[in-house]
């Protein structure tokens, strides 16, 4: 692919701190290669700001390969930008045109408060996992790996769900700021595997209770989460979560 150069106008959300008032500020990204990634474009803008002694735009990123889940911003109204099935760091500038105006904002959700500029606090996801997103097995107590056969189809479905990178785009995309896709991915992974069955009922109840407690909204089957998920986690997982939850409520001995 031959590369071209782009000149772009950026409208970027700047917010000094959690309680500060934020606003869009205008920046110009000049001479950007179409081969550059979206984040490399931001790096160039930031380096120019730094050279001038101005504070660069603060945003999070790490692996730049679409797997760590650190990056995430709303680009022209869509979490992770205009393409399906990718993270912000995988977005490349060849998908933009010379002269484009690009709006860049943080993920917005009550449970993800803004820390600074485009950085939000997603520790609520960790808290949900800490509440029950695991199989309780101490190191050293595992049986021989092949003593637990797993139906291949289930292993594949579990892997589809386990592909979640915990970026939070599902929450940012949802008008209710619901975390159902995230929670359902973890609940599904373990519900589909024999190893997950001993804690099947207690897990789903604890995770859902924690999710509600942390201020995430309810699911009203809009489907924006699935559309924006960079790992294309399917909404059928939410259906499974609902089944698992009702099943647990009927079957479980756990007190509320």
């Amino acid at each position: 692919m031959s590369s071209k150069k782009l000149n772009l106008t950026l409208k970027v959300w700047r917010q000094a701190g959690p309680d500060a008032k934020g606003e869009f500020k205008t920046y110009y990204a000049k001479n950007i290669s179409t081969d550059a990634s979206f984040l490399e474009m931001l790096d160039i803008v930031n380096e120019e700001l730094e050279a001038k002694g101005e504070e660069p735009i603060v945003y999070e990123h790490d692996c730049r390969e679409g797997i760590c889940g650190t990056c995430g911003m709303v680009i022209n109204g869509r979490p992770h930008g205009p393409l399906q099935g990718i993270t912000t760091c995988q977005l490349h500038m060849r998908h933009f045109k010379d002269g484009d105006v690009i709006y860049i904002e943080p993920f917005r959700a009550k449970a993800f408060p803004v820390i600074k500029d485009l950085v939000v606090d997603r520790s609520a996801f960790d808290k949900i996992i800490q509440a029950g997103g695991f199989i309780s097995v101490n190191t050293g107590s595992a049986p021989e790996a092949n003593s637990i056969p797993v139906k291949r189809e289930n292993a594949e479905l579990a892997m589809d769900a386990a592909a979640c990178i915990g970026c939070g785009a599902c929450v940012a995309a949802c008008p209710n700021a619901s975390a159902m896709l995230f929670v359902s991915a973890k609940v599904s992974q373990f519900a589909l595997l024999p190893q997950g069955l001993p804690e099947r009922e207690i897990r789903v109840q604890k995770m859902v209770a924690k999710m509600d407690e942390l201020g995430f909204g309810n699911c009203s089957n809009i489907g924006a989460c699935e559309a924006e998920c960079p790992k294309e986690i399917k909404i059928t997982n939410i259906a499974r979560l609902n089944r698992e939850f009702y099943r647990a409520r009927f079957l479980s001995n756990v007190e509320d």
Binding site: I67, Q90, S136
Partner: protein, 636 residues
């Protein structure tokens, strides 16, 4: 100070078992009286923290990420080795040990490597029990594939996301202990200084990356699991925030640095394709199971790959190394690619790339099978390059990927500072001069799940600890030192950006301390690194406030450390007058350009003691080979 490797005596098969019996134990009731600080939450850190908490220790975990799940282990793609021998192709613990030792070009300890192979099977059991969705056969049992440097299939995998799945397993175990209150988790904290009291590691000073405040954490032992230092090259496959700061600051407090020049340049990465690039992307080595590497037979052939007929292609790995073909180990495959490009056979706009071609495999197995095996990798490739690898061969080139070197540790994984343990990529231990594919995940989890939890108990049980609180004068001193350093960085107020200087350091490292090195270049590099280091301290510019989320300041602190570490890497590479594994000295090669090892003079671990910036003292730990006689490594 003499280096004591503490390798147990006895036959290699019994060393670890006997050693475990001889280690002192901490009784269950006493474990809760000990506080252990773990820095880093990758495979090694998360697995160690979880396992220690399960045993009953109180664990404090620090990570600079917003969540423990972000650590760079997550990006490992291809798989994890174990000697299960499920495919019935003749694998055994001894063979995994042998392959790993040979793959490392006989520059690792036999006893460590044997232990690694020995616990490899337990790791798979543990991960399966945690719900890691490994690939399976239709009968429901686990599937394996092959990796470089092995003639059998021993690699377990979860699509192209094995690192992610293993890390999420360890992360879930860690999260469980956070929920149970046995682990206190502090995210967005970067360790800046190690606190040593009466010669023992007793705590750390970390910066709260949100508020900028310096915080003190005290404990009875400190475990560093902070990864490797490939970002010294600026462009590497490492995540943008990977850094050497924790291990470097510990090094400056007395922990020796082992084999700093042993760095791995991975053969299958995306070539540099524009001048604004921030990092390089790895394409899993597993691709070499089905992809064939080639260049045109004609120098400077500019035809599109599909128009170059079969007879005019040079499948050079298959030609030169028929026994292993496209699955030769990484160091050898990388150098072969460089040689081809240096001789003018390279492809693409820059001539700094070779083809990795799947057309044969697609013809043989069908597109669907290839999609199942590598779908996400192909998608990743297309996303970055705009080319579709189902139709056009991938273009690849070697890139810095992993560092075998790291802080020196003994058999117990303890550094030269008592009470300071170093695990995973951060230590120097098991991979010698070259790491085989799918062995990093194995080592990280071996250290964290199955080795450190035993060895650290011996230390805790055998020391007399004076009570130490965070108001101890050494904590105050360390915090002040770190505050002064930050003030000093902020006060430079020069003209150049942090990244600008980092890129310059990276170019020096890549050109002179990269895939191929020589004495003259290394001497030049040492000089140039000193100059750029001075330039940094005179002319860097860091906007913003230090009592705030300030990413430029974070990067500046890390670069300051890379600027010192880079020099030590060059010094180490210059002193090692041989070629071995990833360390290739042009003066020491065979007639056909292969690495020429010097076992008579260099069969040792180079452990460097820090005296001052630019001033190190070399200590040698001889490597003794009782079981595998070092031979010329041949993959032909």
């Amino acid at each position: 100070m003499a280096l004591e490797s503490k390798i147990p005596s006895g036959p290699i098969q019994e060393k670890w078992t006997n050693h475990k019996f001889n280690l002192k134990l901490v009784s269950p009731a006493n474990k809760r009286k000990f506080e252990i600080i773990v820095v880093g939450t990758g495979l090694a850190g998360a697995s160690a923290a979880a396992s220690l908490a399960e045993l009953g220790y109180n664990v404090t975990v620090l990570t600079f990420h917003d969540s423990p799940r972000r650590a760079h282990s997550i990006a490992a793609q291809g798989g994890i080795n174990a000697a299960k021998n499920y495919p019935n192709d003749g694998d055994s613990i001894y063979r995994l040990f042998y392959d790993t030792l040979k793959g490392g070009d006989y520059r690792a300890r036999e006893a460590n490597v044997y232990r690694l192979a020995e616990v490899s099977n337990n790791i798979i059991d543990q991960c399966v029990a945690q719900g890691v969705p490994f690939a399976r056969e239709y009968g429901g049992l686990l599937d394996n594939r092959s990796f470089g440097g092995a003639q059998l299939s021993r690699t377990f995998y979860a699509r192209g996301q094995t690192g992610q799945q293993l890390l999420l397993g360890a992360y879930s175990a860690l999260s469980r202990q956070v929920g149970l209150g046995k682990i206190k988790l502090y995210t967005r904290r970067e360790m800046l200084g190690l606190v040593v009291i009466d010669g023992m590691a007793r705590g750390v000073v970390a910066r709260n990356l949100i508020t900028g405040e310096l915080e003190r954490y005290s404990g009875h032992a400190v475990v560093l699991a902070t990864g490797g230092y490939s970002r010294v090259f600026y462009l590497s496959t490492n995540a943008m925030n990977c850094n050497a700061t924790a291990i470097w600051r510990a090094h400056k407090k007395g922990a020796f640095f082992g084999n700093p020049c042993f760095t791995q340049i991975h053969p299958t990465c995306l070539p540099l394709h524009h001048d604004q690039q921030s990092k390089l992307t790895l394409m899993s080595e597993s691709l070499r199971n089905d992809g064939r590497v080639w260049v045109p037979k004609q120098k400077g052939d500019k035809r599109p790959p599909n128009q170059i007929p079969e007879s005019e292609r040079d499948y050079y790995l298959e030609r030169i190394y028929p026994a292993y073909g496209n699955l030769t180990p990484r160091d050898i495959a990388s150098r072969a690619a460089k040689r081809m490009c240096d001789e003018g056979y390279g492809v693409g706009e820059t001539g700094q790339a070779v083809y990795l071609d799947f057309s044969d495999a697609i013809q043989r197995l069908g597109r669907k099978v290839i999609e199942e095996r590598y779908g996400n990798l192909f998608q990743m490739y297309e996303m970055i390059t705009g080319d579709n690898p189902y139709e056009v061969p991938m273009k690849i080139y070697p890139a810095p990927h992993y560092t075998m070197g790291g802080l020196w540790v003994d058999y117990n994984l303890m550094s030269t500072i008592p009470g300071l343990y170093v695990i995973g990529e951060a230590n120097f231990s098991d991979h010698g001069a070259n790491r085989l594919g799918a062995s990093a995940l194995m080592q990280g989890l071996a250290d964290g799940y199955f080795i450190l939890p035993y060895t650290i108990g011996d230390y805790l049980a055998s020391q007399k600890f004076i009570p130490v609180k965070t108001d101890h004068e050494e904590f105050v001193k360390e915090e002040n030192a770190q505050r002064d350093l930050i003030k000093r960085l902020k006060s430079i107020n020069g003209k150049r950006t942090v990244d600008d200087i980092h890129r310059e350091l990276g170019r020096i490292m890549w050109n002179y301390v990269g895939m191929s090195r020589n004495a003259e270049g290394l001497q030049k590099a040492i000089q140039m690194i000193r100059e750029i280091r001075e330039e940094f301290w005179r002319n860097v510019k860091i906007p913003g406030n230090d009592m705030d989320l300030n990413q430029t300041l974070e990067r500046a602190g890390r670069l300051a450390d890379f600027l010192e570490l880079g020099e030590l890497m060059a010094i180490d590479a210059l002193h090692r007058n041989e070629s071995c594994g990833g360390h290739f000295r042009e003066e020491y090669q065979t007639e056909d350009g292969e690495a020429k090892r010097d076992d008579e003079n260099y069969a040792y671990v180079a452990a460097w003691e820090f005296k001052d910036v630019g001033d190190w003292v070399l200590h040698k730990e001889p490597l003794v080979f009782e079981y595998v006689k070092p031979s010329t490594r041949s993959y032909k």
